[in-house]
Amino acid sequence: MEIFTTILGKADAPEYKAQVHRLSHAHALDVLRLSRADLSRRRLRATSDAGADVAIALPRDQQLYDGALLSLEPDRALIVRVETEIWLRLAAADQAAALRLGYFCGNFHWRVRFEGAHLLIAVETDLDTYLARLEPMLEGGEVWRVPDEEVST
């Protein structure tokens, strides 16, 4: 196990970029994949793509991010990557339905974002749980799923 107590910086920062690029070509760039929710943790233990046992303990004022460089050595680097997130994309029939949907999501403390007339819910557990909660609205036709379910990072 290796313990990291600080983030070196962004992997694409000018001072690191070339070396990270070189290591990546040499298949010596190891990746720690985290969910977006896990980025808020200051302490965690996880396994990297290459199988390294990685422990992180950051000061409270530091936070992990996509592309955070944890270690850079002549023959190996370790970088944080955020796993692809699934968003449930919804549209509402009218303003009243949109208000109800917004209230409903807020009441469950779901993480949402807005894109034009669409409301996107971050799927943080399994999709069925969200669909079950939304069922009355979906069945009543107040709200519907927009087929192009966007997957973004």
């Binding site: 600080t6 808020s40 302490r43 303990a57 270690s71 469950f108 749980t129």
Partner: protein
């Protein structure tokens, strides 16, 4: 532990913070009372933040327990809404944890007990690094099936009071299996009994915290 990047302004990361949430009376304080001697025997320096609605009942109980230096227990009065102070606005709890860190620089671990709440309560990861949700068998064997956010999102689900399962017509094995199934693979569930002469599951809970948060060897 070695600090990397000596050119950076490196600070010690401070003690791990673990949240303990769950419905009223599920045994959160009892679990803390059971965990304290286990951690102490393993050389882990510990402190506790408790949350009650309008009293300091749980803090007083721990302070009077003789298990821990009373100065290491701090109470936060949550006011009307127990989940607001652990999720939307955890500033009071963060201040309480920082106060403990300042007064006891050698701390390894701070346990934060939430006020008793419903199945929807979750912790902000700005407040804690990792959190468990404590339910008990007396609340009904259908609780895991109800998939509240507390049950689904916690890092560890604890099902407490296994000793009373036969008295409330619940099969301990069935409720544990169902909880593991709804949470999915790799999401731990531990059955527990934290009161009485024979405790159960308490050292497994301590093992998990030692391994995943304190990064220490777990005694064989």
């Amino acid at each position: 532990m070695t600090l990397l990047a000596p050119d950076q302004n490196t600070r010690a990361p401070g003690p791990a913070r673990v949240g303990i949430g769950g419905p009223v009376g599920s045994g959160k304080t009892a679990l803390i009372e059971a965990l304290i001697p286990v951690f102490m025997s393993r050389g882990v320096e510990i402190a506790v933040v408790t949350n009650d609605l309008v009293t300091k009942e749980d803090a007083r109980r721990l302070q009077a327990s003789g298990l821990i230096d009373p100065a290491r227990v701090v109470a936060v009065e949550a006011g009307a809404c127990p989940h607001t102070v652990i999720r939307e606005d955890p500033t009071l709890n963060i201040a309480a944890a920082e106060d403990l860190e300042a007064r006891f620089p050698g701390l390894d671990l701070i346990l934060v007990e939430s006020g008793g709440d419903n199945l929807a309560s979750t912790f902000s990861l700005d407040l804690v690094d990792w959190w468990m949700f404590v339910i008990d068998v007396g609340q009904g064997d259908d609780i895991p099936r109800k998939r509240g956010p507390g049950i689904m999102l916690c890092d560890l689900l604890v099902i407490n009071k296994l000793d009373i399962a036969p008295h409330v017509f619940v099969s301990a094995d069935a409720i544990l299996a169902e909880a593991a199934a709804v949470r999915g693979e790799g999401r731990p569930v531990i059955g527990c009994r934290c009161k009485g002469t024979q405790t159960q599951g308490v050292s497994e809970i301590a093992d998990l915290i030692m391994r995943d948060l304190l990064f220490r060897q777990v005694p064989a």
